[in-house]
């Protein structure tokens, strides 16, 4: 089966600085993979390169066997590749429900004109999507917040809404950028359960994460990035034992701990 994501020798330089250097890895379909690394390792850069916010200097990125080169973000989304952002980018001028419904944009079958004419099809679709959105909000326990402005909600809730909104888009590959940043322990545990549920439902996930407990608890395979290079890959248990990783990542993380 073609992998959901294949990075082939991807490099990205910023004026002589190698932010990402010769990185290759594969995210198989149906898996939940994690990309980790210490601060400044190039995780988010790699993520942004992958989603074409800025193209790679060299190398190639394939989503489901199709090159991402020259594809605009909305085209990637149409291919089933949906991403979230490091800082939750909910739409602040909309309610929670509207935010989640906005995720269904790709699946709207009724045009603007039909909506303006309040056709039966338009109203039916609206009802269907709302029911789906409500079900997803139930799943993450945010049903009560459906009519509230998302800007009023706590960061944890906003991050969940962003994930739920991404799910509304029916992704084949879900790319999550530090979903646990800003969450407390309980919320992180809930997030882990949610990610497992999404994976078990058949959606491939790649999560870029800082939070080791989340990653080690849920990931099938972990890629470790340090100073722009991939230094290790493997199942979480093996990664925890990897000497290079401990030196590059865990060692520093421990040293930095108060």
């Amino acid at each position: 089966m073609t992998p959901a994501l294949a990075c082939r020798a991807v490099s990205r330089t910023f004026g002589g600085v190698h932010a990402v250097e010769d990185v290759s890895f594969v995210v198989p379909q149906g898996s939940l993979c994690a990309l980790i690394g210490p601060n400044g390792a190039g995780k988010t850069t790699l993520f942004n390169v992958a989603t074409n916010l800025f193209p790679p200097t060299s190398g190639e990125i394939l989503f489901f066997g199709r090159s991402a080169a020259g594809r605009a973000p909305h085209q990637l989304a149409a291919d089933g590749v949906i991403r979230t952002f490091q800082t939750a980018r909910v739409f602040p001028g909309m309610t929670t429900l509207e935010n989640v419904l906005a995720g269904a944009h790709l699946h709207a079958r009724v045009g603007a004109l039909a909506q303006m004419l309040w056709t039966r099809a338009a109203r039916g679709e609206e009802r269907r999507l709302t029911a789906k959105a409500d079900a997803l909000l139930d799943l993450v326990g945010l049903r009560d917040a459906r009519e509230r402005a998302t800007a009023d909600l706590a960061i944890g809730a906003q991050k969940l809404i962003e994930i739920v909104r991404a799910l509304m888009a029916g992704p084949r590959l879900l790319l999550l950028d530090e979903p646990a940043a800003g969450l407390n322990d309980r919320e992180t545990a809930e997030l882990a359960a949610l990610l497992r549920a999404i994976r078990d439902a058949g959606t491939t996930i790649l999560v870029v994460e800082h939070n080791m407990s989340l990653v080690m608890g849920v990931a099938d395979e972990v890629f470790v990035l340090d100073a722009g290079r991939l230094i290790a890959r493997g199942p979480p248990a093996a990664i925890q034992q990897d000497r290079a990783v401990i030196e590059a990542y865990l060692g520093r993380a421990e040293a930095a701990a108060p």
Binding site: T51, L53, A72, P73, H74, A77, A78, I82, R83, T84, F85, R89, V90, F91, P92, G93, M94, T95, E98, L101, A102, G103, A104, H105, L106, A108, V110, A112, Q115, M116, L117, W118, A122, E125, E126, L129, E147, R148, A149, A151, D152, R165, A166, A169
Partner: protein, 630 residues
């Protein structure tokens, strides 16, 4: 040859004033990242002060000039302190841009109240006799203008580049957050830049008043010319402002001499559009271009004004019932006719709401589409005897085509530049309606436009017209409500809130913006056509840039993103001057003031207030932010 040199000299003199206004733009923009459209009004304020001190009070020239500049600057500082600085701190950049459009309207209105609509010319500083040099005649005032302008420019350059204060000002321009962290008082620097801009602007006005007759709306002229100059030269470049100003002055004079004075403006605007499209950063792209995107809501929270379920239905039914019964009541004469106008303008405001309130794109030239719709329909119906309905539809197609061309040519522009391109579009249409005399009747307008007819029924009385536009408005509101509350509206709001996140969900941001622009231009066009058929007359003034600003004022007053809110806005701004005739002279000033005050104090608008009272507002009303956005 001597004639050419003479024209160039005239152009350089006029360009000197443009350069001064352009410098003011550049100064304020570099510190606040806001294009201050009120800039040109300072020239007129200065000239107006000069008129009073010199002509009315009989002061000698020097004290009169100093007093005029000082009082205009003081007035500018007060207004800046009360509105501009808090506005920049609280509003997203594009709303701040609209705020300055409100300030410009306010200043123009104040000048209208004080001066009336007469043109004024002041005596030259040193007599009427021109200075003659080798057969060239240079007005002596021109020497004063050139000399003092050069001195001011030099002083400003020294201030910016050679003093600690100038360094602080420039630091704000480069990185406001870092500047704050370094202990620079950003609001004070903003006010300082605003005051300096007011100072040089009013001085420019005092200098130019003897060689150019000024009137109440000259402020708009100076703003537009200064803006074109600074856009040509480069928004963030000192030298660019000066070169841009001089270039524009000479180009306008040459165009006026060799083509036609009616088209001088058209050529300048084409020049501007060309520069905006080909080199958005200007010819002298100096300094870092701080590109801000469309109304970035990620920084600013906005009201979620919404009536739901029964409250909405009850409100709508009651409103439509009252409006439907109005003609049966014994109304004071002319009121029904004013209501017709209010409803016709409401249709344009609806379109503007889709574009601004929902999709977050600022259009400062929306009356341009009204003009296309109005003139095209009127010309087809009058000159070519088309049935009004067919003419209206054809005009609508033409307007949408214009919108598509505008969208295609400006697709690389974002944020301010896009808003300013729409302003240029409105002004371009403006100047064409004036210039194409054979087609449009020129400044005196197009007369003898027939009444609207459809299926053999003539809407030739105010009552008939009233029911026609009321029915249209109701149908449009119901349709747009459907579109805006379902997927289409969500895509628009997503684009308004966060384009990157919207694109990540598969929203084709460019296409959504174009769809919003087309829809909104179609509604403006319809409104323009109806206006022409209702009034039986159309003149450039009816669909000028002032009208564009008025439409924005109506929308903001009523409440953005609410659809129905615009009705209350257009009702109030249309009826107030009719009901209270004495206030008619204050209309323009009031519109400007309302736009500014509502933006600052009641961003949810009239309808937001109504929804508040009905107690069904979704939580999350905006709070003013204490911090200035980095």
């Amino acid at each position: 040859m001597a004639g050419l040199v003479q024209i160039v000299i005239g152009g350089l003199l006029q360009g000197g004033v443009f350069a001064i206004v352009a410098l003011g733009f550049s100064l304020v923009y570099r510190v606040t990242n806001v294009v201050n459209l009120a800039q040109g009004a300072f020239c007129v304020l200065g000239a107006m002060g000069m008129y009073y001190f010199q002509v009315e009070f009989g002061w000698p020239i020097l004290p009169a000039a100093l007093a005029a500049v000082a009082s205009a600057t003081a007035f500018g500082v007060l207004v800046g302190l009360a509105t501009f600085v808090p506005g920049v701190a609280r509003l997203p950049p594009s709303s701040a841009l609209v705020l300055t459009a409100g300030l410009l309207t306010f200043f123009v209105g104040v000048t209208l109240v004080v001066w009336g609509n007469q043109p004024y010319a002041l005596p030259p500083f040193s007599g009427e006799a021109p200075f003659v040099l080798g057969g060239l005649r240079i007005p002596s005032q021109g020497l004063w203008l050139a000399g003092i302008a050069a001195a001011m420019i030099a002083a400003l350059w020294l201030l910016l580049h050679k003093t600690p204060l100038g360094r602080a000002l420039r630091a704000c321009a480069e990185n406001p957050l870092a500047a704050r962290l370094m202990g620079i008082d950003l609001p004070r620097m903003m006010l300082l830049s605003f005051a300096l801009a007011a100072l040089i602007g009013s001085a420019g006005g005092v200098l130019v008043a003897p060689i150019m007759s000024l009137q109440f709306d000259s402020g708009q002229f100076f703003t537009i010319s200064g803006f074109i100059a600074v856009a040509i030269g480069g928004m963030a470049s000192f030298a660019g402002s000066i070169v841009g100003g001089l270039l524009l002055g000479v180009a306008e004079q040459l165009a006026a001499f060799y083509v036609s004075s009616l088209f001088a403006n058209t050529l300048a605007l084409l020049l501007l559009l060309a520069v905006l499209i080909l080199r958005p950063a200007g010819l002298f792209a100096g300094g870092p271009a701080r590109r801000s995107d469309v109304r970035d809501d990620t920084q600013v929270r906005r009201a979620l004004v919404r009536l739901r379920g029964r409250a909405a239905l009850g409100f709508a039914v009651a409103l439509v019932a009252v409006l439907a019964l109005l003609p049966a009541l014994p109304l004071p004469g002319g009121l029904l006719a004013s209501l017709v106008i209010a409803l016709i303008l409401f249709i344009a405001v609806l379109g503007l709401d889709v574009l601004m309130g929902f999709a977050g794109q600022v259009s400062l030239g929306h009356a341009g589409f009204m003009a296309v719709g109005g003139y095209a329909a009127a010309i087809l119906a009058t000159t070519y005897d088309w049935p009004p309905l067919a003419a209206t539809l054809a005009a609508l197609v033409l307007s949408v085509a214009c919108a598509l061309v505008l969208a295609a040519t400006t697709r690389r522009l974002r944020g301010h530049y896009l808003a300013l391109a729409t302003l240029a579009f409105g002004l371009l249409v403006d100047s064409l309606t004036v210039g194409l005399v054979d087609l449009t009747g020129g400044p005196s307008g197009l007369v003898g436009i027939p009444a609207f007819t459809a299926a053999g029924f003539a809407f030739d009385t105010p009552t008939r017209m009233y029911y026609l536009v009321l029915a249209l408005a109701v149908v449009l509101v119901v349709m747009l409500e459907g579109g805006m509350r379902m997927g289409f509206g969500r895509a628009l709001k997503a684009v308004r809130s966060d384009q990157l996140a919207a694109a990540a969900l598969g929203v084709n941001v460019g296409r959504v913006k174009i769809a919003a622009l087309c829809l909104s231009s179609a509604l403006a066009s319809l409104s323009g056509s109806l206006y022409a058929f209702n009034f039986h007359f159309l003149s450039p003034e009816i669909v000028s840039t002032s009208r564009s600003f008025e439409l924005i004022a109506m929308l903001v007053l009523g409440g953005e993103g609410t659809l129905i809110g615009g009705f209350f806005g257009s009702l109030v701004l249309t009826l107030l001057p009719t009901l209270v005739q004495d206030l008619a002279a204050f209309k323009t000033a009031a519109e400007g003031a309302i736009l500014v005050v509502i933006f600052l104090a009641m961003p949810e608008g009239l309808f937001g207030r109504i929804a508040f009272w009905l107690g069904r507002v979704a939580p999350g009303m905006p709070r003013p932010r204490a911090e200035i956005a980095p």
